[in-house]
């Protein structure tokens, strides 16, 4: 939390006007959603399935090193596509308008150990409603890290660079634990709560299926390639986890992103809600391929403003959104992936140590950002 509010120059009317302009952008996309968009998601889904099939097929011969490399690379990409451009976005309801029961937020299940419905609750509802509000949005540090000067330091935080690295490697398990609010629920009394137990069971079932598929069934099918296939699936999961963790860290952690106090959202208007999303998110710049592989979460700002618009439209929306940032003299935090990842990690390391009560910052945020 910077002592200087970067939105202080806006009047209440300006903020509501900004909200109306954003609503207009949304309406425009909704009115023009159609056949092309539907064809897009169908094509992506079919490409993902084919890539996965072929990669798993190639891995049947993974005792042969080139086959191992090709199969592992293909499977990694397939898993990333499944989680990012397909799973994340369908589970947001971005494609519900098609009324295709097979591509729908209520029926979709993804290649992930967190069951879709639990993830939808913690992500769609808690994170997207309370974006970057300390104490309400658990995505801020995932409950295990300190990511803002204003959060209280505890000796436990000394290890957070390590926690963050472990979390990155096993990210899907981290998410499952997070969706279960494991930290809070492992408390003796809460553990017995039937609702928690049912959810924990569902996670257990999902983990069993996922592990069985990746580490037993497919290696067994590969026969003599048992071990190489096992290693390949492990690697693909690792790659997918590291990648999605990096992308997601870039969404809200880089320097320049604002966090908000619990009290600040009391009686929040639509315009203020929009403004919080704008100031609480950060983008990744890059090529079309980069946007695709991040599931268009490289357009995190646009995604947070309009979480239910089809992902393939964020790029065009971004141009208009950025113009609004300029018009209202707000900072659009964006940068190439390495820079944003570095910035986020630097913060994690920096905040693992205690800091003095937030110093009143001189308006040197720009220099600070450039340095980041």
């Amino acid at each position: 939390m910077t002592a200087i509010d970067p939105t202080a120059h806006l009047t209440a009317e300006q903020i509501e006007e900004l909200g109306r302009e954003l609503d207009a952008i949304r309406d425009e996309v909704i009115a023009s959603r159609g056949e092309k968009d539907a064809a897009y998601i169908r094509k992506v889904i079919s490409a993902q399935r084919k890539l996965e099939l072929v990669s798993r097929g190639v891995l049947l011969f993974s005792f042969f090193p080139p086959a191992w490399i090709i199969g592992t690379a293909g499977l990694s990409v397939a898993k990333i596509m499944d989680n990012m451009e397909i799973g994340h976005n369908i589970l947001h309801g971005q494609w519900d308008w098609m009324r295709d029961p097979k591509i729908h937020s209520t029926t979709w299940e993804w290649d992930h150990v967190s069951p879709a419905d639990q993830w939808k609750h913690s992500h769609n509802e808690l994170h997207h409603t309370y974006t970057n509000v300390i104490g309400k949005d658990n995505d801020l540090g995932y409950g295990i890290m300190r990511v803002d000067e204003d959060q209280k330091w505890q000796p436990f935080h000394l290890g957070q660079p390590l926690w963050n690295f472990i979390n990155a490697c096993f990210f899907e398990y981290g998410i499952a634990a997070y969706d279960l609010e494991l930290g809070k629920n492992l408390d003796k009394r809460r553990r017995k709560n039937p609702e928690f137990r049912a959810r924990a069971k569902a996670v257990g079932r999902k983990i069993r299926k996922q592990v069985l598929k990746d580490y037993v069934v497919h290696p067994l099918l590969s026969g003599p390639s048992f071990l190489p296939t096992l290693a390949a699936t492990f690697t693909a999961n690792l790659v997918r986890n590291l990648w999605s963790h990096s992308v997601i860290m870039c969404g809200h952690f880089p320097e320049g992103v604002q966090v908000f106090e619990r009290r600040s959202i009391n009686g929040e208007t639509r315009g203020q809600w929009y403004l919080r999303q704008m100031m609480g998110s950060a983008n990744i710049s890059g090529s079309k391929a980069m946007h695709f592989m991040t599931g268009n979460l490289s357009h995190q700002i646009e995604h947070h403003l309009f979480p239910d618009l089809p992902s393939n439209r964020y790029a065009e929306v971004a141009v208009k959104v950025r113009a609004l940032f300029e018009k209202y003299e707000l900072e659009y935090v964006t940068g190439p992936l390495p820079k944003q990842v570095y910035s986020a990690w630097r913060k994690v390391v920096r905040l693992s140590l205690p800091n003095k009560k937030p110093k009143v910052k001189t308006p040197d945020r720009e220099r600070e950002l450039l340095a980041a």
């Binding site: 009324r99 409603t129 497919h218």
Partner: protein, 351 residues
């Protein structure tokens, strides 16, 4: 182990291979019409019939169980990316040799699906199918004397019957605005020329609406005939009255298209059918609030339209999206976000 048990074991194993998807998700990529798949069909051709009607030739998937002349089928078509379901009568004979079926569609004003099918459907497109259904069919034993009373696209189920069965004595009275609006006109006239059908065309643009009393003059023995009637509600209501007045209502079989038309208004009575509660709602209050106020257990989340945690089936009526003003009408499978939708007329929410 029996072979079915074996097969279900093998299927379970396959499901382990494909989890979290199903084996069918992969099979659909290569063979969407195979046996065991969800029932689909492929459009193979579109033949124009009149200025605003066309016959669609469909190759149904292997799971298609066939139909009886006079029945209809519900099809799911993607129009502008949105899947919409409509019912159309089957116009092909039940045992067409190439296994294809046809529906004949008349474009109605503002009809999203009918206009799409008549004007822009492309051969090769996959559509969703239900099994054929409906009891507007002929009895097992062919009736000796038959009357078909039809108007507009009401001729479609009857055409299915005419193509399927050779009748000994069949009369048809068909209404259409002008001669060129008569669907299947050439084929009907060919039947007349072969003395297989007696046909009276009523051209309503010049002759006016058919007055049911004129039947005495058009088909003097109408009361003795087993009659199948299909067309707009006005015609069918008049026929039903006429037949019961003469005490022969058991000889009349009718088929109604589009039984309910939703009129979108502002607010209305909201029924929560699972709970059995009804309350009046205005056009500005989100249905989520309406339900909670009435003590209905409503799922919710963000309460602002972003989390999709409140979506609920809309079983009847229409709702308005409070953000965009867009109207959504009830159809099977339609879900709405109750936190950003308000009643646009009476509606039924499954909670």
């Amino acid at each position: 182990m029996t072979s079915t048990a074996l097969r279900s074991r093998a299927w379970k194993l396959l499901e382990m291979v494909t989890t979290p998807l199903l084996p069918s998700d992969y099979l659909d990529l290569v063979s969407p019409l195979r046996a065991g798949a969800d029932l689909r069909g492929r459009i193979e051709a579109v033949h124009p019939e009149t200025g605003d009607a066309a016959t669609i030739v469909i190759r149904p998937g292997r799971g298609w169980r066939g139909h009886t002349a006079g029945q209809y089928v519900r099809i799911g078509v993607d129009v502008d990316g949105v899947r919409l379901w409509r019912a159309y009568s089957l116009t092909s004979p039940a045992k067409r040799r190439d296994g294809r079926v046809t529906i004949t569609v008349k474009a109605i004003p503002d009809g999203k699906v009918s206009n799409h099918l008549v004007r822009s459907a492309k051969p090769g497109t996959l559509i969703q199918l239900d099994q054929a259904t409906g009891d507007f069919v002929l009895p097992q034993a062919k009736p000796a004397k038959v009357l078909f009373l039809t108007a507009g696209s009401g001729i479609t189920p009857v055409m299915g019957m005419l193509r399927d069965t050779e009748f000994d004595d069949v009369v048809m009275v068909h209404c259409a605005p002008q001669p060129q609006d008569v669907i299947f006109r050439d084929e009907l006239h060919a039947l007349v020329a072969d003395k297989k059908l007696q046909l009276t065309e009523v051209h309503t643009d010049t002759d006016g609406m058919l007055d049911i009393a004129r039947l005495d003059e058009l088909v003097p023995d109408w009361a003795e005939r087993e009659t199948w009637a299909c067309g707009p509600a006005g015609l069918l209501d008049a026929a039903e009255e006429h037949w019961s007045e003469h005490g022969v209502q058991e000889r009349l079989h009718t088929e109604r298209f589009r039984p309910t038309i939703v009129v979108a208004g502002d607010g209305g009575e909201v029924t929560f059918s699972a709970t059995g509660k009804s309350v009046d709602a205005d056009g500005a209050t989100p249905l989520l609030d309406v339900g909670e106020e009435a003590g209905v257990l409503m799922p919710s989340g963000c309460r602002m339209g972003i989390c999709f945690g409140c979506i609920t089936p809309l079983k009847a009526g229409a709702v308005r999206d409070l953000r965009t003003g867009e109207i959504t009408e009830a159809e099977p499978g339609v879900l709405i976000q109750t936190c950003v939708s308000a009643a646009a007329g009476p509606c039924d929410i499954e909670r």
